[in-house]
Symmetry: C2
Subunit: 562 residues, 2 copies
């Protein structure tokens, strides 16, 4: 396209009445002409004065568009010579291989003889090696780059056209998820539903004291506090760390100073942080079998090899073979309330575990899951509080006690590692949310947290009983409930060998969400059959009818009970 042709081409396409600024239209049209090669590389574009005159628009508009195009690399501008379309064509890239050194590759024949194993190539910006060397390169060699040092050697890179691509070239795999990514997706346990009967693990957020929370929230927003709107210092807001240390010391017998507390976004991040700081890919971690699906995924993507350890009525129960195996780097347990089965780890087991870890220099991650919701007995002291070797990393969260969407959890690091944990959390996650942390700290300090827990404990205890009653009415003792006297779900046992996944699917078809127990196991031969029934988020009056629907699904799937 010559300059006048370009003007015509543009004039035909500019839509003056369209409401779109001429600047934007002109910019887009010129890009388009360059992309389509109607304005080929090297072509001179009309001067801004000329183009403006031919299009009848302000010269300033054209100048601005040209400047933008220069910046974007579509055109280059040489003072006094004009503006030219840049060569933006990508190189023909086939593969890449390094071919000897210049020293040893001197003649075209030599070059030709090695192209069979060569790849390709250099970009526009690469300099070419000695022209003598390259003269008469055999035809398939399309381009050449070199890394010359001191004129006396270096690597030579050959480019070959697609037709010569040999099997020795790097042949990339199809673009897809990585192995760990594919495994993560295949094993994903996350549900698309986040509520309704009987979704386990979801608290009743409708009872949250929103008025109190909003009052505190507005107090902090009223006078803008820049220090609360920026990144969090490592470990989180000092005030919250203080309040939490007090709470954990008195309620959970955790031994800690505020400096040992690291605020996280929840159990997932807490475990991720501990795993990355304390283990390397290929290290073993003992996990309870069954255990929480989400944590399993976090461990897998960090390269850990879980060794699933059986649990019995006293909690984790390593076999002789487990003790005989090389010790793990990490041990992840839920002593207060085994997830998902609900039993409490006995004191004997706690002490054996602590002693084993001490002797074998393992770290223990204590997930103090649901410890606040015990309906019969008082909560047990934490494992961390029994430990004298500084080997326990205690983790907990406010997701179940306040509301899941809050995303506030915490980790208590062993004192000598507290600063490393704080640094790593800032380095890896670059957290913020300090204003929310301030609101939470005040919410706890004013006593609203414990009073909310007290209220919810009564409510959940009632709902738990309603589920147990409904189950007993329908099945007597045929389908016993496990799960101890705590938490936000019960586990209803199904007959050994029965297909709990099929039951869960039949329930879902009736709009009832239950999770099959077998899915929480790693070892198939160990897997019990049962259903996790979450009652916390189900209004009292819906529990009976919802259980009837569930019963229908059970009866249809397991006709022996029909």
């Amino acid at each position: 396209m010559r300059a006048s042709v370009l003007s015509d081409w543009l004039a035909q396409r500019l839509e003056r009445g369209s409401g779109q600024p001429v600047y934007r239209q002109l910019h887009r049209l010129l890009q388009q002409a360059i992309h389509s090669r109607e304005l080929p590389a090297g072509a001179k574009v009309p001067s801004s004065r000329l183009l403006a005159a031919e299009l009848g628009i302000a010269r300033n508009t054209v100048t601005q568009v040209y400047e933008q195009l220069v910046l974007e690399g579509y055109v280059t501008s040489a003072t006094g010579r004009g503006t030219f379309v840049a060569d933006t064509s990508p190189d023909e890239i086939v593969g890449a291989a390094e071919i000897g050194s210049i020293e040893s590759v001197k003649t075209p024949r030599q070059l030709g003889s090695i192209t069979g194993q060569s790849g390709l190539i250099a970009t526009n910006s690469q300099t070419l090696p000695n022209a003598d060397v390259l003269a008469g390169l055999p035809p398939p060699v399309a381009a050449v780059g070199a890394d010359l040092r001191d004129g006396e050697g270096g690597s030579l890179i050959l480019g070959v056209s697609q037709s010569l691509q040999s099997p020795q070239l790097h042949r990339p795999a199809a673009r897809a998820l990585s192995a760990r990514g594919a495994r993560l997706i295949a094993g994903a346990g996350v549900s698309k539903r986040q509520g309704g009967a009987f979704m386990p693990g979801v608290p009743d957020v409708s009872r949250f004291p929103a008025r109190i929370w909003t009052r505190l929230h507005n107090k902090y927003w009223r006078t803008l506090r820049p220090d609360l709107l920026t990144y969090a210092p490592g470990g989180g807001l000092a005030l919250l760390r203080h309040v939490l240390a007090d709470y954990l010391r008195t309620s959970r017998s955790v031994r800690c100073t505020p400096e040992q507390i690291i605020i996280t976004t929840g159990i997932h991040q807490s475990v991720d942080l501990a795993v990355r700081l304390l283990s390397d890919p290929g290290d073993t971690i003992w996990t309870e079998d069954p255990c929480y699906w989400g944590v399993r995924s976090v461990l897998h993507v960090s390269g850990l090899k879980p060794r699933p350890i059986a649990v019995d009525s006293e909690g984790i129960n390593p076999s002789a073979a487990d003790f005989a195996a090389p010790p793990p780097k990490l041990i992840l347990v839920t002593p207060s309330h085994q997830y998902p089965l609900g039993m409490v780890m006995s004191l004997a087991r706690r002490r054996t575990l602590l002693e084993y870890a001490r002797q074998n220099q393992c770290w223990i991650i204590e997930d103090d899951y649901d410890s606040e919701f015990r309906y019969g007995s008082r909560p047990l002291a934490s494992l961390q509080g029994l430990d004298t070797a500084g080997q326990v990393i205690y983790v907990g969260s406010f997701g179940k006690t306040l509301f899941p969407g809050l995303r506030v959890g915490y980790l208590v690091a062993p004192e000598p590692l507290a600063e490393s944990f704080a640094t790593a959390s800032a380095e890896l996650y670059r957290e913020g949310q300090l204003l929310q942390q301030a609101v939470l700290a005040e919410f706890i300090a004013e006593g609203h947290f414990t009073s909310h827990i007290r209220k919810m404990r009564a409510l959940y205890g009632q709902r738990r009983q309603a589920v147990l009653d409904a189950a007993a009415r329908r099945y007597g003792e045929a389908l016993p409930a496990m799960g101890g006297d705590a938490g936000l779900h019960v586990v209803m046992q199904l007959p050994e060998g029965s297909d709990d996944r099929a039951v869960a699917e039949a329930a879902l078809a009736r709009n009832i969400v239950v999770r099959p127990l077998s899915g929480y196991y790693s070892e198939r031969e160990r897997a019990g059959s049962g259903l996790l029934i979450g009652y916390a988020c189900v209004p009292d009056e819906e529990i009976g009818p919802a259980f009837d629907m569930l019963g229908e699904a059970i009866d249809v799937t397991l006709p022996a009970f029909g």
Copy 2:
């Protein structure tokens, strides 16, 4: 301690006037007596009736304490026989090794001959193998466990006392950070300061329209919306994903549907998610050299091997050797505004990079850092918008445009992978913060976002000019500024070979934060000397005086300029 002795011991220690409930005191005292072995394992504790009478307290209180102790494993209760102190002493555990099978290990002599390589042992819950086999075990063997199957074989686990611990035992390393953990901490770039002159990367949050934000926030809290307080569905709030897709399409030429948008907590999480889904440990990633320190850490802990690629005035500039090496799995670039140097990636480079990635099946992560803050020209279109092969993962965040503590970022996944990205984000991070996402969506939809950016762009442009003016006044052209016409910092070049870290330290001693440019480089021989000077969060009137302090630090450290 006999029963009556126990009563006396307890009576002496119960403080009735202390205000602490008797229940709690009794519970603690009994635990203490068991821990200290004053109540040894196997001892029978008095009946609740008897103890209540002797202490003059309600029987119900004693019953409850006993029940709690049973649950905690301190005592066991046998119906009709009474309550006994449990054996909670941990085993003496030295190490662990599996020793042949029962079949092949029959006599004490055989056992003795192998203890030299044996380890240890079983917990209280392990059953002992055939007593005949074990009779007369040599003295160092302290305990034995076995995994017997069908009485006809299985593994035998020997326990040996500490004294026999041989070098062949698993000898654990001292408990410490893992290799990746130690490297993370050693290389941590995070600053303890999050504001003040001239902290780079921190926007001015004091100008945030708090009143508008709070109004929207309160609207969502006024009528409690349980669906906004629970876990986020994979990908985040639908409304925000819609609003963002519109914004990114029009402002950044990103090609996307709302389904391709994944809401994250920021660049760190976006990169972490992409890396874990698309690469495996040991895979190579091309990073720009220099690049953002935080992302380097995220890559390292995920097991990636970064290959730092040089940049020049057109952005990333792979050498012939880079092209010749086996292609990377991932390529991480900042095309709009190279971090930290500030140049724009030219169109030729963009197309070469896209073509190279296409031919070699690499994924490109485009970090569209600071693209909103351009002071001269309009923002450039995204790399993602040029891509036709579905190989670009586009990431961005609201940290700089609104406020860092917000923790909202986004990722645009290639269409075929959008669902996997959404699932993985829910599975790995279990995110929430939907209410905040709703507020943000409305903030954008009502136009407050673009108007805030417009205001801040004017403000930052002014501050940027103030820094450049101060530098020019003091140093003329001796210390030129880089960083293009965009972003929240400029890079002031120092003379080649000068020690920018020493300058930064001297500045810090004067309460001025600048980051040494050399710290952003991976390859030492490539590292330029300079200072990152963040101006965004410095009030206009403080820029001059702060620069004078910085100048003092430069002059003291590099006397040639003094």
